[in-house]
């Protein structure tokens, strides 16, 4: 700091830190947070637990549904794990990540620091959304990878037996699992986008978690009330069963495509609200 008056950089145009540096910094921060790491590791253990459970339960079957399909069919394990985790824990991970991204930063006073650096508000949201999205993707990918390995080791496999009764080759099976990973990731992104919108409005990360949990419960309750059937097509959760379509052959695309479009709508709503709030909020 011996810089003299004469040595000052020009003050005539907007300056921005390189986006790649911001994204890298965001990832570094996200993936160093103990909470995030623990959550990802715990979620990745779920396929192992299911695999052990099914192995112990043996050929007696039981459980029904995908559990029945799982016996001797290891490649179903990652899909089954993702299906189970999508109902609650993965959305919660997305919500947690989104909560830390804006509300958490605000509560530590670090959001102000970023705004003063300055990181433009639109960029700030983009960087935050990127961090959340990457966290979710890593978690989903982790579950799938651990699921495939566990499935092959514990349950054994000669390819994937589909719900339709035919057997897919190793490569096709991996392709299906990859598709499931992308689809599940996108669905959780939609949840996280809504959580990010909530996150922009509060300084308390727990409020975001509570709101997401409450939303999930409300959606669940609506699903149970026959009089509210007309709302089903609007609910994100109502199309979450379509991930099992990757286990059918030939694979019906309409459910997967429709639910992806629906998730895109939730994503647009969530990011829209978040953008409006972030660009107008006080630092």
């Amino acid at each position: 700091m011996t810089a003299a008056v004469l040595d000052r950089p020009a003050l005539d145009r907007p300056l921005r830190a390189p986006l790649s540096r911001l994204l890298a910094s965001e990832l570094r921060w996200t993936l160093r947070r103990p909470r995030t790491v623990i959550a990802i590791v715990l979620l990745s253990l779920v396929p192992i637990l299911i695999g052990i459970g099914v192995t112990i339960a043996g050929r007696r079957g039981g459980g029904g549904g995908l559990f029945a399909t799982l016996v001797g069919n290891g490649f179903v394990l990652p899909i089954l794990s993702l299906t189970l985790l999508l109902t609650m824990l993965l959305p919660l991970l997305g919500a947690m990540s989104a909560a830390d991204a804006l509300a958490g930063e605000a509560s530590h006073g670090t959001l102000r620091g970023l705004l003063m650096a300055p990181v433009g508000r639109g960029r700030l949201l983009a960087v935050k959304a990127f961090g959340v999205a990457t966290t979710v993707f890593i978690a989903v990918l982790g579950i799938a990878v651990v699921g495939v390995i566990t499935g092959v080791v514990l349950v054994g496999t000669d390819g994937m037996i589909t719900l339709s009764g035919n057997t897919l080759s190793f490569g096709d099976a991996l392709g299906r699992i990859g598709l499931a990973v992308l689809w599940v990731t996108f669905q959780v992104w939609a949840v996280a986008a809504i959580a990010l919108a909530v996150s922009a409005f509060t300084e308390h990360p727990l409020v975001v978690m509570a709101a997401t949990l409450a939303g999930a419960l409300v959606f669940g309750v609506i699903t149970l009330i026959p009089q509210l059937d007309w709302m089903q097509p609007y609910l994100l959760t109502s199309s979450w069963t379509s991930v099992t379509d990757v286990l059918r052959d030939p694979m019906p695309w309409d459910g997967l495509v429709n639910s992806t479009l629906k998730a895109a709508c939730y994503l647009a709503i969530g990011l829209g609200v978040a953008y409006a709030k972030v660009s107008s909020k006080d630092g």
Binding site: G165, T167, K262, A264, Y266, I269, G272, S279
Partner: protein, 369 residues
């Protein structure tokens, strides 16, 4: 102020796009404008349907929507019973146009797939990892794409006349414009009862593909309801050659393969009832009422009619779930009423069923001793 307002505008645009998108997605596939097709008479249409002997190779989704108003009956488990309860059920169908076919009934986490490879019918149920294999010619179950070829006149033109004449006695038949069904232009053939008929039904609409002349959709409409009370038809349809691999089936490793005519027990029950007595037909046309008398006791403690799984069940309990207890000078029993018809099941074994109100059933019962 600028940045703030721009942020609000962009944000609002995003929200709007999302909300509109959700609305569009939730909307039932738009009917769109009715396609313009050359005029055709009802007779010509029926004739052309009859001329079409073969179903082309196709893949499609068959949706059955049911608003009959029947209560859900948990006792009748299984995939097929889904068609009975209110709601929409979907099935995927494929055929190569040469007799081979494939049907799959998806469940939330399971699937029942039936494949007929030309000689063998495979029926795979993922839930219990079981394949039923039978080599007899498959019944035409769940094949709405196959038009019933009548055993009437061999000349389609004559047959069409015959059919129309038969129907004309108490119905009006006409081609009521066109519609787009599963993305294909179709004629709408409408059968409606003459005003003198007492039936609960308003009309039956059949959408017939303008090109291939296969029926695409069948809708039943009842009085006092704008929506079809029952509808079955294609929600998506692709007429194109299909991958031959679809029509082969290899039981997966570790599956239970059951060979032979292991018909489901549930399928047997109606057969028994059918053989129990010969139904009498009262009335004609839309007001036809079937009356039959079962041997006393059939509905009481007979344990022969069991659901699959082997559990004993009491038919009167089921009747209690489905209908309400009624009585009158004609006797007492259960009345099951739906949007399209009524059934009376009396304690003395008499049964009357028809697409008519309760009063018409009672009259019909009275005419049979």
């Amino acid at each position: 102020m600028n940045g703030k307002q721009a942020g609000l505008v962009v944000g609002a645009a995003g929200v709007l796009a999302g909300v509109v998108g959700l609305g569009v997605l939730a909307l039932p596939a738009g009917a769109g404008p009715a396609p313009v097709l050359p005029q055709v008479s009802a007779e010509q249409l029926v004739q052309s349907v009859l001329t079409t002997k073969t179903v082309p190779a196709l893949a499609g989704t068959v949706s059955a929507t049911n608003n009959l108003g029947l209560p859900a009956v948990p006792a009748l488990g299984g995939q097929a019973s889904k068609f009975l309860t209110d709601g929409t059920t979907k099935a995927q169908v494929w055929t190569d146009g040469k007799g081979k076919g494939r049907v799959s009934l998806p469940g939330a986490t399971s699937e029942e797939t039936m494949v007929f490879d030309g000689t063998t019918l495979w029926d795979w149920t993922s839930q219990n990892n079981t394949v039923h294999k039978s080599t007899d010619t498959p019944e035409q179950k769940a094949h709405p794409d196959k038009p019933g070829s009548g055993e009437m006149a061999t000349d389609p033109a004559a047959a069409a006349k015959q059919i129309i004449a038969l129907i004309d006695k108490d119905s009006t038949v006409k081609v009521d414009g066109t519609a787009t069904v599963a993305g294909r232009p179709a004629y709408e053939l409408v059968l409606a009862p003459k005003p003198t008929e007492k039936t609960l039904l308003r009309e039956v609409r059949i959408a017939i593909d303008s090109e291939t002349k296969i029926p695409l959709q069948l809708s039943v409409l009842a009085n006092g309801n704008a929506q079809p009370v029952a509808q079955i038809g294609f929600s998506t349809l692709q007429i194109a050659p299909q991958d031959p691999a679809l029509f082969t089936f290899t039981p997966p490793a570790g599956a239970n393969v059951v060979t032979g005519e292991d018909k489901k027990v549930a399928d047997k029950a109606p057969d028994q009832l059918k053989n129990a007595a010969k139904p009498q037909i009262v009335g004609s046309g839309w007001d036809t009422v079937l009356v039959e008398k079962l041997p006393a006791g059939t509905l009481g403690g007979d344990r022969s009619a069991t659901t699959k799984g082997g559990e004993n069940f009491d038919p009167s309990k089921l009747l209690g779930q489905l209908g309400k207890r009624v009585s009158g000078p004609w006797g007492s029993g259960y009345e099951i009423s739906t949007a399209v018809g009524t059934a009376l099941v009396l304690d003395d074994g008499r049964i009357a069923v028809g697409a008519v109100p309760e009063q018409a059933l009672i009259t019909a019962l009275a005419s049979v001793k």
